[in-house]
Amino acid sequence: MQTAVLGGFVAAAMVPLLHRWFGSRTPLVMALLPASLAVWLISQWPVIASGDVLLLEQAWVPGLDITLTFMIDGLAWLFAMLITVIGALVLVYSREYLHGHRDLPRFLVVITAFMMSMLGLVLADNLVTLFVFWELTSITSYLLIGFNHTDSAARKAALQGLLVTVGGGLALLAGFVLLALAGDSWSLHELVQRGDVLRGHDLYTPLLICVLLGAFTKSAQFPFHFWLPNAMAAPTPVSAYLHSATMVKAGVYLLARLHPALGGTDGWVITLSLVGAVTMVTGAFLAMQHTNVKKLLAYSTVMGLGTLTMLLGIGTEKALVAFAVFLLAHSLYKGALFMVAGILDHETGTKDVTAMGGLRHLMPATAIVAGVAGLSLAGLPPLLGFVGKELMLTSVLEAPFWRLLILLLAFTAAFLTLAVAAIIVLRPFFGQRQDTPQPPHDPSRVMLAGPGLLAALSLLFGLVPGLLDPVVGAVVTGMGAPEAKVHLALWHGFNLPLALSFASLVLGLTIYRLWDRLRAGLTRLAPLIRCGPEAGYDALMAGLVILADGQTRFLQNGYIRNYLVMTLLVLVGLVGHALFFRHGLAPDVTLSVYFHEAVTAGLMIAGAVAACVMRSRLAAVAALGVMGFSIALTFVLFSAPDLAITQLLVETLTVILLVLVLFRLPRFATLSTPTERLRDLVVASLTGGLITLLMLAVLSGERLPRISDYMVANSQPLGHGHNIVNVILVDFRALDTLGEMFVLALAAIGVFAMLRFHAALGEGVDRDGRRNLAPTEDDHG
């Protein structure tokens, strides 16, 4: 499985090649990947159904307790199934939706990478691995929201989504570290068994806050809900997949996963049930003011995510069962409805529901699919959405805290959602026929396959909910309630939830009738709504820009000497502080210096002094060269031939580079005033003095164990090499070297880009950039 997920990333990278072979059929080829993974998952079902946890072990960084182990239990299995099945359907759907789009390969690359990240997220057993995949979903989501990168609104929405989720991700990282400290393990399957230790730990409150921040931002909970509707700037397949069925559920998944480890305390129950309930109502209410079908769906997704969070907060066995059913129901109908929305947009040329009407005659197949999925969203029988909503209302009735308030919020959300469902289905397909920008007709079967299948599943599971019993049972076991009795049924008899459902039907339809008038009223409230959390985000961003502007002016003003002064002073301060307070400043070293060593040192000092006082640039370079070669000589004297060779070669190449740039520079002039030079002298002396003291402190006694002994002893047996320097570089510390390689590559690309940019300036191609380059030019002349 790990190979499949990592291989999926490679497959994503191969898309441009596949596109050359398969052309517009590439999405269908790519759909084979999630489809085959889904088949594999189904083949593992007997193991999961028996209540076992499938652990696929794989080491990654054993020294840091980071593994790539995958853990598949009922919860992970359901999520993985949703990701792979809906993923395959979305890819098939996108064949038509993005037919002939010139950026189709780019879309497929990113969405496949997203799919694999999401799969890794729900399967990962290790906190660090989970976090890596978590951030990967944020990044791929950013690229997908901003898919139409020429549209500034899409770019802004993409950045907003990224900043909100990645900001939460930072909190989550802190939360994971605390969690690992408190539970003494990085492995989820161990942590969920240490719930009592975790709940009683001193770190419980801070770690809960951090984890919740991460989950709430990702799953668009109030007050972070605003990024999700804006993310609708993405192409519809993306909205259907990331922003309703999978990625936004990652936060909910994490909460469900950690429920046995962290859940059940007052803080957990109150926070989750209240935030969830408020999110439900916020989403359902804000949906009312929109006529854009995707925005309507997005806000109702916010409502759905709120419901899931609330159910996890309530946390009783019934609530967990409701969670599992609602999760599945929501993914099925919301995926279908988003794809229908895409069809409407694709066929009619508009996303505005008020501009559509009577489409059922022209698009009968689409109307049926939309109707079935819409009924499920509305929570009406005999759809799975009804089962989910009944279970949700039953659980709310046993909420441990503030039952009435939560019930009121849940009921409000329920009838508002019903109104949303009516708006989405009744408005475009029924009523007066309206002229749309394009003459509408049913799309091809390929495009209808995805939403059709999802809607059919909603109906099937609604009619025979008993089919889901084992799945829901396995999911609930994964959330730490193995004894829960799961028996789903469409009909529970006449009870309070049914009465509430009926009341919400009446209220919802009334609101639908009054919708046009209600919307006019809401427009008057618009300034108030605009003061919401999004205004806070905007203010924060504006503040950040002002801060960045100020600190750039002050710290990064383009004069390299100021950068140096700043860097060196910070270095002297920090290192000096540590040295002074940890070791004291009294090195006791008896130096025995040979004559040739003294000569070398003298040469170096002479070179340094000469470089400072020379009046000609060439002479200064030569003086620096003297220093460089003396250093190489020192390496030779202390038998480090590799370092000496490297130093010599670097000196040589430096000369080559200098020859190339030397005559491009303006006349060598004295630019600084005597005071500035005095300041520079002080800084330089401080740095030099401190480094000398540091070296003496290192030499004066064996305070630290010498790592070189290990290297010398193990270079041949472990690294199969006699050259210790090389063994360290390419084996023992290869990861560091790999990092250095990337740094070197970046530096070279930086030089290349800067020079090309500069050349373009010279020809007047891009005059705007001149202001940015000016300080560096002044620096030299």
Partner: protein
């Protein structure tokens, strides 16, 4: 920078280049046991190419290299990353070195060697990218009609 070298430099550069490159490969391959290695070998090769550039000119270097120096960087990084994978294949953590002996010539092949070749390519690519970029800008400034020959 056109062909500005003298006759002696021109002739010497042509003769020296293969020798220098051979020497750099020698340094690269023996690096694991004797002084040398990818970084040093890469610097030697860059020096060789730089000499060729100064004597024969930018155009000749491009003709001889066939690939853009930037592609060398990419190939080097790719090799570096690829060399981390065989350990995974063997069921060990990433980056765990793997060793194979090629029978007939009794040569020690290993992932660290692949990694070192990656280092070599990145160093050559980076230095040449910087140097050729500098030379190209010069040419653009001296002869604006000619600056596109590399792009």
């Amino acid at each position: 920078m056109g062909r500005s070298g003298t006759l002696i430099l021109n002739a010497a550069a042509r003769l020296l280049l293969p020798l220098q490159l051979l020497f750099s490969v020698f340094l690269l391959l023996r690096g694991h046991d004797e002084p040398g290695g990818g970084f040093i070998a890469g610097l030697v090769a860059s020096g060789a190419f730089a000499l060729y550039l100064f004597s024969q000119g930018r155009h000749a270097l491009g003709e001889m290299l066939k690939v853009s120096p930037r592609d060398l960087i990419g190939m080097g990084l790719l090799l570096g990353v690829i060399s981390t994978l065989p350990g995974w294949w063997a069921g060990e953590p990433f980056f765990t070195a793997q060793w194979w002996t090629i029978p007939v010539i009794d040569f020690k092949a290993s992932t660290p060697l692949i990694f070192d070749i990656g280092v070599y390519l990145v160093v050559v690519g980076s230095v040449l990218t910087a140097i050729t970029a500098l030379v190209d800008t010069d040419q653009a400034e001296h002869d604006p009609t000619d600056h596109d020959q590399t792009h």
